[in-house]
Amino acid sequence: MLSLLFILLAASFFTGIVVRTKSIASGRKGPGIFQPVKDVVRLFKKGAVYSETSSFVFRIAPTIYFSSVFVAMLIVPFGSSKGLISFNGDFIFFAYVLALGKFFSIIGALDTGSSFEGMGASREALFSMFAEPAFFILMGSLALMTGHTSFQEIFTTLHLGSSITYALGVLAASVFLMIAMIENSRMPIDDPKTHLELTMIHEVMILDNSGFDLGLILTAGYLKFALYGAIIFNLFSGSIAVGYAIPLFFAMQAFLAVVVGIIESFMARSRMNHNAQFIVVLSSVALLIFFGALMVSGKFI
């Protein structure tokens, strides 16, 4: 339950910090860190315009997308306190719940019959498919290291063995960060700020969404960042007392937001046809972690 609250709080400033970092890096002052939340609140108050080709799919898609992220949030633990949903193999549920949200956001985009949105939908489907094995190999290696298969148990027992796990933890954190970037369609994969629709993925999918629905989609994006931030935090928190864990959590989220901002400022978007290679590299890093885990658990011969 704690995690839900903290992720919600972290989500309120995460994207703001990313934007602020980018502004400072490019020599501007930039908006306040709560600007994204204010934007969303404004959107929530608006009416809506629907495309005449769209059907009910277009109307329910943002809600389902948002709900999937929300339910995924319930699965993530906070340190040693369990998420609301926790069982052996809950990370599979996590991945598949998010997949359902993605499924609906993709068909929602296709529902408008716009060629741009179709293009974004196709790319979103493709790239998130490539990110999938990295996540599963990573979780598999963590399960191998700890002998547990639920988020909370994995994270609390991760560092009981040896300190080498921290090295693997850093590697795992970088993979999770990149997965978060892909899931949110951020820099090396996609550029949310470009105004040329052909280069966009996620942004182009939601061209036709407006008002409340757009607000839901944006909020889901903020939550997703904080969600992956929370997972990364859990990789290191282990069994730290809650008193220390809470400030650490927010410091970590802020730090990650700054890192994301810096990556976005100093890295160019890769060419669209190089994206797949980039994402496959993630899976190989995950495999590296897996072999590390094999060695740690003494099963490598």
Binding site: F44, G47, Y50, I106, I107, A121, L126, F212, F300
Partner: protein, 665 residues
């Protein structure tokens, strides 16, 4: 009670005769009645068997066959119930589907007779425990399904697909016959008990592999899958639904049956099976993602699901080899549940795709679009099938995929490095399969049902008749029952499994009970997920009340004259994927380049289609060689009666001489 078995075949044969006599209008209903009656009879025996009271009966087969053992144990019962359910939905859906063909009375009569026989043979395949009779039932099943496939025999493509299917099924029968004869010569009996004696004393690998090839041809493991993408699109939709839903699963039944007798070499076989299955799954879904004939797409998707089932079986075998019962329960259990799940959502998908075909007369999704407006119910049905087959909660696909995932993750706790690596790579493979199935089904659903119509159709499509919709609703109710009460189904599967492995006793481990309770909580969480959606939807409705909601054209990014042709097509949706894997999905394009100096180019044609890698690179070269070699013997069949008479005489003389010299006894 046991004698009820007899009424099954008597009923079917009676129905076949009655079907010849009744007027055309009544044929479909008679067939439906026969199928339902047969289903009730066999289910009456299967349901007690499922709860641990196997029934058996012995027929005297004379001196040649010996005693024919008919036995319904838990495994048979599970498959019989699946067959019966799918056949019942199939026959009712087919009644509606074939209404348009009412003027082809002869064909219809034959079709329904075959359908009844088809169900009969499938059910009996699951019951017979006698090698030779099993082969006969298997053959009746293959032949009747082949005849069902070529319903539209006037179309040369359909006929070709049917012959392709026929040939491949006979290759399968050759392997099965080799296996049965092998067993007979080593043990002296055709009864399935021979497996126990044989496997107890000999190497298990080769005989299992012979049977695996035989059954794998039916199931559609690569590289034995190439009949599926031809036969499924060619068959009428209710037949493809039943074929994909259950006939393919009988291959899986065979593998289960033989695997249940294994005594040793579990590890090697498990590893072979799991690797082949991951490849099957990836190959199937990759092809499904690029194909635009939606029934062919579904056929490839069947191959993918066979891969998933195979991963489960492989995990189970590895578990048996390592004496880890939990792996056996999760792997085999996941596989068995996935057999049920896949038979449900795949038949649902084939039926709803069939409804689209019936209304639009095209299987090419690029010609469709926007059907959600004219066929809203079919669209929702297809959508539910698509979500379920992608393994996403809250539908039933997630239950079985979760079990198989859990099996693989439990397998990570094994000791051997090779097996751990196999497990982790299988998890990765399974996740890619999941991701690709999202690509596949968003593409298919989006192209067929969403957007605007891409081409004017000959007829305006309408929602299909209630007779076709109701079977699909029933399937969905069944699917929901699995996702709401997964623990009940898992318990049944657990019972099946604790009596299945005859080689070694595998008691239900404690962890399995844990998984049953996990299943219970998953269903709660899935319901909660639905609840969360409902809550947010409610909030949305409340917030939007009284606000201005306008309907306007799709934003064209400044372009003001959009046509439906500029929509993203199925082809373009999966183009980049196809390009990335162009070494597996082989694309062939046919077009003419502009000639130099051609100032006013005439209308040009451009077609592109994807070839099946194994068919194109492996099977076709081999058959081409065989045909080339066979050409040299064409002089034998020259059409002259005189030479045929000569062959007869030569043959008789040869026999005569050979007996004289004691070469042939």
């Amino acid at each position: 009670m046991v004698e009820l078995i007899n009424s099954s075949w008597i009923l079917a044969l009676l129905a076949a005769i009655i079907l010849l006599l009744v007027p055309t209008k009544m044929k479909a209903y008679t067939a439906a009645f026969a199928v339902v009656a047969n289903a009730i009879v066999t289910s009456c025996l299967a349901i007690p068997a499922l709860s641990g009271q196997p029934v058996s009966l012995t027929f005297g087969g004379g001196s040649i066959l010996g005693d024919i053992l008919i036995r319904i144990d838990e495994l048979s019962a599970w498959f019989i119930l699946i067959i019966n359910f799918t056949c019942i939905t199939g026959v009712f859906y087919g009644t509606g589907y074939l209404k348009a063909y009412a003027n082809t009375a002869k064909k219809l009569g034959m079709h329904w007779i075959l359908f009844v026989l088809f169900q009969l043979s499938m059910v009996w395949v699951c019951m017979i425990q006698h090698g030779l009779v099993f082969l006969i039932a298997w053959e009746i099943m293959s032949l009747s399904s082949m005849m069902l496939v070529i319903f539209d025999a006037n179309n040369p493509k359909t006929l070709k697909a049917g012959i392709n299917y026929l040939v491949q099924m006979h290759i399968s029968v050759v392997f099965l016959t080799i296996g049965v004869v092998w067993l007979y010569f080593r043990t002296g009996t055709f009864s399935f008990d021979a497996f126990t004696t044989y496997f107890g004393t000999n190497s298990n690998i080769w005989l299992f592999l012979v049977f695996f090839v035989g059954f794998g041809l039916k199931a559609g493991f690569i590289p034995f899958h190439s009949w599926l993408p031809h036969a499924h699109p060619a068959a009428p939709s209710h037949v493809s639904g039943v074929m994909s839903g259950v006939i393919v699963k009988l291959g899986i039944y065979g593998i289960f049956r033989v695997a249940s007798y294994l005594r040793s070499d579990y590890l090697v076989l498990g590893e072979i099976l799991i690797i082949l299955s991951v490849l099957t799954g990836l190959y199937g879904i990759l092809n499904a993602a690029v194909h635009r004939d939606f029934k062919r797409m579904l056929a490839y998707c069947t191959i993918e699901n066979i891969g998933i089932i195979g991963i489960g079986i492989g995990t189970g075998l590895i578990g048996l080899g390592n004496h880890m019962p939990i792996l056996y329960y999760l792997g085999f259990g996941g596989a068995l549940l996935h057999v049920l799940n896949h038979s449900l959502f795949k038949s649902l998908l084939f039926y709803s795709a069939g409804s689209v075909y019936q209304q639009t007369h095209t299987r090419n999704m690029e010609k469709l679009g926007g059907l959600i407006k004219s066929m809203p119910r079919t669209a929702v049905l297809f959508l539910i099938g698509a979500i379920a087959i992608g393994g996403m909660p809250p539908f039933n696909g997630f239950i079985s995929e979760f079990l198989i995932y859990s099996g693989l993750i439990e397998g990570i706790k094994l000791q051997s490095m090779t097996q751990i690596i196999i497990m982790v790579l299988s998890v990765a493979g399974l996740s890619v399969i999941g991701g690709l199935s999202i690509v596949t089904f968003t593409k298919t659903f989006g192209t067929i049902f969403l957007g605007t119509p891409r081409q004017p159709l000959d007829h305006t499509p309408h929602e299909v008749s209630r007779l076709m919709l109701i079977p699909q609703y029933i399937i969905i109710i069944m699917m929901l029952s699995i996702s709401i009460f997964p623990q009940a189904y898992l318990q049944v599967v657990g019972n099946i499994l604790s009596n299945l492995a005859k080689g070694i006793a595998v008691p239900q481990p404690v962890e399995f009970t844990d998984y049953i309770s996990i299943m219970q909580s998953i269903n709660l969480y899935s319901l909660m997920f639905v609840g969360v959606m409902a809550v947010f939807w409610g909030i949305r409705t409340l917030m939007l009340r009284g606000r201005t909601q306008t309907i306007n054209a799709t934003w064209g990014c400044g372009y003001t004259a959009p046509t439906s042709r500029i929509q993203y097509t199925g082809k373009s949706f999966s183009k980049s994927l196809g390009k990335m894997f162009n070494f597996i999905v082989i694309e062939r394009k046919e077009y003419q380049e502009l000639k130099a100096g051609e100032i006013f180019p005439a209308t040009k044609k451009y077609t592109s289609h994807y070839h099946d890698f194994f068919e194109f690179r492996l099977i076709r070269p081999i058959t081409n060689r065989v045909v080339y070699g066979a050409n040299y013997f064409r002089f034998i069949q020259n059409g002259r009666v005189q030479s045929y008479v000569l062959y007869g005489i030569v043959f008789i003389i040869a026999i005569f001489l050979l007996t004289i010299f004691n070469i042939v006894l």
